[in-house]
Amino acid sequence: MLPDSLQAEQFAGYPPEARKLALAHLPALRRLPLSFLPSLLKQIIDYDFLFPAERSAIEQELAHLSSLSEEQEREWFHPFSSISLPHELENSDWINRPGQFVEQQSAYLWSTHQQDAFRKAATDYGSRLQPLIQPPPLPVRRLGIAVIGQGVDSYDQPLFENLRQHGTYFGRINPSNGLELLLAAVADRAKTHQIPYAHWYVDGGRPAGQFPQLTTISYQMLQPVRDALLRNIQIEIRRPGMGPEELRTHLARLTPGDLDIKNTGDPVLDHFQLKIFTEGSGTQVFSTTFAQWTAREVLRRAQAITLLVRFAPRQRQRPMNELLSDSNEKPELDFIGSLVDADMAAYYHWINQQRLPGSDQSSFLVWFEGRNEALVVAPSLPRGAESSTSIGLDRLLFLALE
């Protein structure tokens, strides 16, 4: 079936808000090419569980698509219409399983050497659309904080190398009460600017306190979910016919209930937590990967105004000779490796923050926990500079937001 044959009753399986949204824009959906539409439906079908920023973006996108003239439609979608797809994909249930369609389409595009053309079409589409989407107004400049190196006694290699050209390095930080000061400042911002899902605290270990003003996620809190997921996978991979792609499809269909995610009364957050583990590679195994990927998704999806990520040491990857030595010891932690992981993750945190609206005014602070080193990227501070000023983290944060 092609999009021009879409009927309202075919959206009966969608959650209520998603169905309402799709039906409100059905004429526009009918005019979209098949190589494009399922990726849009993939978002629409999740609409009930999206963050406010995502909802606003997709509502605006659909409104723009509905308002395009025939000529504009041709211009916008000609590159997508030029993509050829096989009948099997046309005949698949792309309305109710758009995610599966997108995955299969991607494999097909790679195998038919159309991936580059699709990538260009998608990039051009994003460029046309982005200026038309009005982001929600920012009540305060965006702030990212990464706290790295928990538990590291000493480290003699340079840190923040990727970020130094963008900000100011501080080598004489007073670390006293540093974490408490940063968390208190973040909680204060949340209290002052009360917006749902705008202020986050992600911890790669156990949270350093309770902060009702913040949306909080931690690796330790979600251990039961990780355990449930790994059990689920072990069962699935023993099934006949199961392969990597089938497993991915299975993971994409899991619901929070399948993984014993406690009903927090917040279905949006429940779904977000689920996807961190079913869509993120390595999030189930390494706490540093969990923290990095969660930060990426918090920024990409929720467009957080405040995000503090604290990295914790991950388990050590055991070398082959240890695995062959018949030792069932619980793997110890890799403090230095985790610091290196987190240093890179902090750089990605900043990159992902810079993709969001208002980036020219946003601030970013990374601190080597408990130590004297930090770096700030902020409009008020010079790039590629070093400061020898002795300074506390409260004062540093003030400088970052000045």
Binding site: E54, Q130, E161, R248, Q354
Partner: protein
């Protein structure tokens, strides 16, 4: 807005312009590699040296010639290797091997960026479209089939050492005029380890995982008996000796190099293909493990080259090719997650390098002209004297 698709319009602070001109980025990557080699390793730029070929083309030379191909896998980026900030990760490639090599700074992979399918493409000279996660043979004849059929070489003369079960069909295609019985013997060290270890009660799931792209899934192969026979009959290793040695190694790629060296001693194949894979631990998202994998692979490449110098069958008549199957996603491409994957098809993930050194190769020369990864097979054909008729690449003139 939601980033359903990659964007090319980035906010301030990010080099949006880089994303808008892939050709420029590829050229810059290539230029950076060249400049870095020029400064760090003292190599020359190649165009001025094109007139004089040092290669010998006589039949007698071809008969003695040995070729070893190492895929520097699975996928490493410039900034962790040949860019200035990555230099400390590859001291052996840079300071020992590059000065002896012809270095190609601009190798493009236009195919599917999955490790099995990309390695199969390297081995056939055609951008294969097979399922990356299925144990299926390539559609087109492999370099091993061309080599053995055209030059009438025995099965013992072409070997593949590959990391995981997914590569077990890479030795020969299902092409009717080539195919069964004409390919390379594939040896899978991790599978061998699993077979040798069966019944011990050790849980080696983590070690034996097949593919970092799908770390939670390991396809099973049958044929333990065959693998153990390989161990004893061909490598002349008892299971006990093999396990004892394995216990001294830290990674699967170290095991692969151990097996490769053993093959060189026992069988002295003329065509030996080794696929490294430790680097692909990057899919787990742990940057430190990815960099550790690069450093190990760098060391192992040098170790193998040293072994070549010490093996009478190989010393002085071996040409070694080292190349990644592809790169990894750039930090700034919003469709990916930086070093972790190779899913975007961006320039960083498609543009790599190749190093050729040893017999018949100019030393300390850098070439910037773009070549494709599928040009390897026709180049090997021209060097060894076989005709890869179905390959879609072209011989690299600088190697002839």
């Amino acid at each position: 807005m939601q980033q359903r698709f990659p964007e090319n319009t980035l906010s301030s602070g990010l080099p949006a312009s880089e994303l808008s001109c892939p050709r420029e980025i590829a050229k810059r990557l290539s230029y950076n590699r060249r400049e870095f080699l020029r400064v760090a390793a003292g190599v020359a730029v190649g165009s001025s040296l094109m007139s004089a070929s040092p290669l010998l083309h006589g039949e007698s030379t071809r008969k003695k010639r040995k070729i070893i191909v190492i895929t520097f896998g699975g996928g490493a980026r410039d900034q962790e290797t040949f860019a200035p900030e990555g230099q400390h990760n590859i001291p052996h490639l840079l300071l020992e091997l590059a000065p002896q090599s012809s270095f190609f700074t601009h190798v493009t992979n236009r195919g599917i960026l999955g490790h099995y399918v990309a390695t199969a493409s390297l081995a056939t000279g055609v951008y294969e479209t097979l399922n990356n996660f299925a144990a299926v043979p390539p559609d087109h004849p492999t370099v091993f089939e061309y080599f053995r059929k055209d030059l009438r070489r025995p099965s013992t003369d072409a070997w593949v050492v590959a990391p995981s079960n997914g590569f077990n069909r890479i030795g020969e295609s299902d092409c009717r005029s080539y195919g069964q019985g004409l390919g390379a013997t594939v040896i899978l060290p991790k599978h061998l380890l699993s077979a040798a270890n069966s019944g011990s009660g050790l849980n080696l799931d983590h070690l034996l995982r097949d593919n970092y792209e799908t770390p939670l899934y390991t396809p099973q192969l049958k044929g333990d008996e065959f693998e153990l026979r390989q161990l004893e009959d061909i490598l002349r290793l008892s299971v006990n000796d093999f396990m004892t040695h394995a216990r001294t190694l830290t990674s699967p790629d170290e095991l692969s190099v151990f097996i490769a060296k053993r093959l060189m001693q026992q069988e002295a194949p003329s065509l030996l293909w080794i696929t490294m894979h430790d680097i692909d631990v990057a899919h787990s998202g742990a940057y430190s493990l990815y960099v550790e994998g690069i450093r190990r692979t760098d060391r192992l490449c040098a170790e193998l080259w040293q072994a070549v110098q010490h093996e009478p069958e190989y010393a002085g008549n071996t040409t070694l090719f080292i190349l990644p199957d592809f790169g990894r996603d750039a930090d700034y491409d919003s469709g990916g997650n930086g070093f972790q994957h190779h899913r975007t098809g961006d320039v960083a993930s498609r543009t790599t390098w190749m190093m050729a050194l040893g017999a018949g190769v100019r030393q300390g020369v850098v070439y910037d002209d773009p070549v494709q990864s599928i040009d390897l097979v026709p180049s090997l054909g021209a060097i060894l004297g076989f005709s890869p008729g179905q390959s879609q690449g072209s011989p690299i003139k600088e190697l002839l």
